[in-house]
C-alpha cells in the first residue's frame, strides 16, 4: 500500500463526497427535535428562575456567573433559542444563525442543569447542534439555497459534516464504556454492578415518589441474567467505532444501540428521547430520502434530488 493510497483512503473515510441534501436533512431533523424538546421541556427550563439561589451550581458557560442570572436573562435566552432555532431549521442566514442557535441552546440547557443535577439525555443533541452549526448544513433545503438559486453540488465538505456527526455519536458511547472500565475495571462485565444500579435506581425513584420500572425491580432478583446485560452494554459502547467502517455496519450498530436504549427504558425507566426516536442516528442513514419527500409534499423543496451520491 503506497503512501498516496493511504492518504486517499483517509480522505475518502473522513471526507467522502456526499450530497448537500444529506447534511441539510440531518440539520432539519436535529433542529426539529431540538425545537420540540424546547417546547416540551419549556416549563422545566423556565422553572429554573424559581429555584432558590443557594441551589445554584453553575455548569458549562453558566460558570461565568457567580450568582443566578435575573429571570429576564433566562426568558431572553429561551426566546432567542426559539428565534435562532427556527432560522437553523429553515436555513436562513445559516452562517450567522446556526452558531447563535448553538450558543443560545447551550446556555438555556446549561442554566437548567446548573441546579445540582446534570441531565445526560441532552449531551448528544447539544454536540450534534454544535457540529452542525460549524458545518455547511444550510447549503441545501434552505432559504439560503433558494436565494442562491439552488442546492450546492455534492462535495466532500458535506460528507465531512456527516462523518463528524457520526464520529461524535460513536465517541460519546465509547466514552461511556471507557468510564465503566476506568472506574471498576472488568468487574463491570460481571453484571453485579449493573444489577445493583438498576435495583438502587428503581428503589430510589419509588421512595422519591417518581415513576419506576416494575420490570427492572423484578429483573433485579434474577442475578443470572446480568452478566449478559452488562456485556451487551459494554459491547454496544466500546464496539461503537465499528459503525464507522461501512454504511451497513453503521446502520446495524444504530439498530442494536436503539435496542439498548429500549432496554434502558424498560428496566430503569430512563428515557433518552433523542436516541429512542432515532434522531441521534440520522447521520448514519440517507436522511434526505426521508426529509425531501416530506418537504416536497409541503412544497418547500423540489420533488427530485439533484445529484445524490451514496
Amino acid at each position: 500500500m503506497t503512501r498516496e493510497s493511504v492518504r486517499q483512503y483517509a480522505v475518502d473515510f473522513l471526507r467522502p463526497v456526499m450530497p448537500s441534501e444529506r447534511l441539510a436533512a440531518v440539520r432539519i431533523l436535529t433542529a426539529l427535535f431540538a425545537l420540540i424538546y424546547l417546547a416540551v421541556r419549556g416549563p422545566g427550563i423556565l422553572a429554573a428562575v424559581h429555584q432558590a439561589p443557594h441551589l445554584f451550581q453553575p455548569v458549562g458557560p453558566v460558570k461565568l456567573l457567580d450568582t443566578p442570572a435575573a429571570p429576564l436573562v433566562t426568558y431572553l435566552f429561551y426566546a432567542l433559542s426559539w428565534v435562532f432555532g427556527v432560522a437553523f431549521l429553515v436555513g436562513y442566514r445559516f452562517r450567522l444563525t446556526a452558531p447563535a442557535f448553538a450558543f443560545s441552546l447551550l446556555w438555556v440547557l446549561a442554566y437548567r442543569n446548573s441546579w445540582g443535577m446534570v441531565f445526560h439525555t441532552e449531551n448528544l443533541m447539544m454536540l450534534h447542534i454544535t457540529l452542525l452549526s460549524l458545518s455547511d448544513a444550510g447549503a441545501a433545503l434552505s432559504l439560503d439555497a433558494k436565494r442562491a438559486g439552488g442546492a450546492a453540488e455534492a462535495d466532500r465538505r458535506f460528507g465531512f459534516g456527516i462523518r463528524v456527526l457520526s464520529i461524535g455519536t460513536v465517541t460519546a458511547y465509547v466514552l461511556a464504556g471507557v468510564a465503566k472500565i476506568k472506574v471498576t475495571g472488568l468487574e463491570w462485565a460481571s453484571g453485579d454492578i449493573l444489577r445493583n444500579h438498576i435495583a438502587n435506581d428503581n428503589l430510589r425513584k419509588m421512595l422519591l415518589g417518581d415513576s419506576y420500572s416494575e420490570i427492572g425491580m423484578w429483573l433485579a432478583q434474577t442475578p443470572q441474567i446480568f452478566p449478559f446485560l452488562a456485556m451487551f452494554s459494554l459491547a454496544v459502547e466500546l464496539g461503537a467505532p465499528i459503525g464507522l467502517f461501512s454504511a451497513r455496519l453503521g446502520q446495524l450498530w444504530c439498530l442494536v444501540t436503539w435496542g439498548f436504549h429500549v432496554g434502558v427504558l424498560i428496566v430503569m425507566w430512563v428515557f433518552f428521547p433523542y436516541n429512542l426516536f432515532w434522531f441521534s442516528f440520522a447521520s448514519f442513514f440517507h436522511a434526505e430520502k426521508l426529509v425531501m419527500p416530506v418537504l416536497a409534499r409541503l412544497a418547500f423543496a423540489p420533488r427530485a434530488s439533484s445529484t445524490v451520491v451514496c
Binding site: G44, L109, H197, L203, L207
Partner: protein, 151 residues
C-alpha cells in the same frame, strides 16, 4: 470560499470539538459538567443498601405515600433529590420549614385527602431484600421533621 468550508478549518474545528468531548475522560474533574461530561453514570460500584432522604405523606390508616417531585417544584426526580439533600445539610430550621410548606400543599392535594401528617426522613434499606419484604429490609430510619396536615 467561506473560511469554515476550508478543509483545514473544518478538520481543526471538528478535532477540537471531539477533543473537548473526550476531555473530561482524559483530564477528570471533581464534579460532572454540561455539555462536557465524563459519562460516568452507572459506572461506579454500589453497595447493597439504598439510602434516601425523602418526604412521605402519612395517611389515617398508617400507610405512607412518598411525595412526588412536583411537590418540590420540579418534574425531575434527581432535582428533587438534590433539593432535599441541600435542605438536609442546612439544618433543622430549614427542614421544619420545608415540612410545613409541604404539609400545606398536601392539605389541598385531592389525591392525598386522607393524609394526616408529613414526614421528612432518611431511610436505609437492604436493596434486594426490599423487593421481597420492604418492612424487613429497613435498616435505619432517621426522622428530620414531622408536621401535621391541617385542613
Amino acid at each position: 470560499m467561506f473560511l469554515l468550508d476550508h478543509p483545514v478549518t473544518q478538520v481543526s474545528l471538528a478535532a477540537a470539538t471531539l477533543l473537548a468531548l473526550a476531555s473530561p475522560t482524559i483530564w477528570p474533574k471533581e464534579r460532572d459538567d454540561f455539555p462536557l461530561s465524563p459519562y460516568a453514570m452507572f459506572s461506579s460500584r454500589q453497595d447493597d443498601t439504598t439510602r434516601v432522604t425523602h418526604v412521605v405523606a402519612i395517611l389515617e390508616d398508617g400507610r405512607e405515600v412518598p411525595l412526588a417531585p412536583r411537590f418540590l417544584g420540579t418534574d425531575e426526580v434527581l432535582q428533587a433529590k438534590v433539593t432535599l439533600m441541600r435542605v438536609l445539610k442546612r439544618g433543622k430550621r430549614e427542614q421544619v420549614d420545608l415540612c410545613e410548606e409541604l404539609a400545606k400543599k398536601v392539605a389541598v392535594d385531592p389525591d392525598l385527602g386522607g393524609a394526616v401528617a408529613v414526614e421528612m426522613r432518611t431511610v436505609t434499606y437492604r436493596t434486594m431484600d426490599y423487593f421481597v419484604d420492604p418492612k424487613a429490609a429497613l435498616l435505619k430510619k432517621n426522622v428530620h421533621a414531622r408536621c401535621k396536615v391541617e385542613r
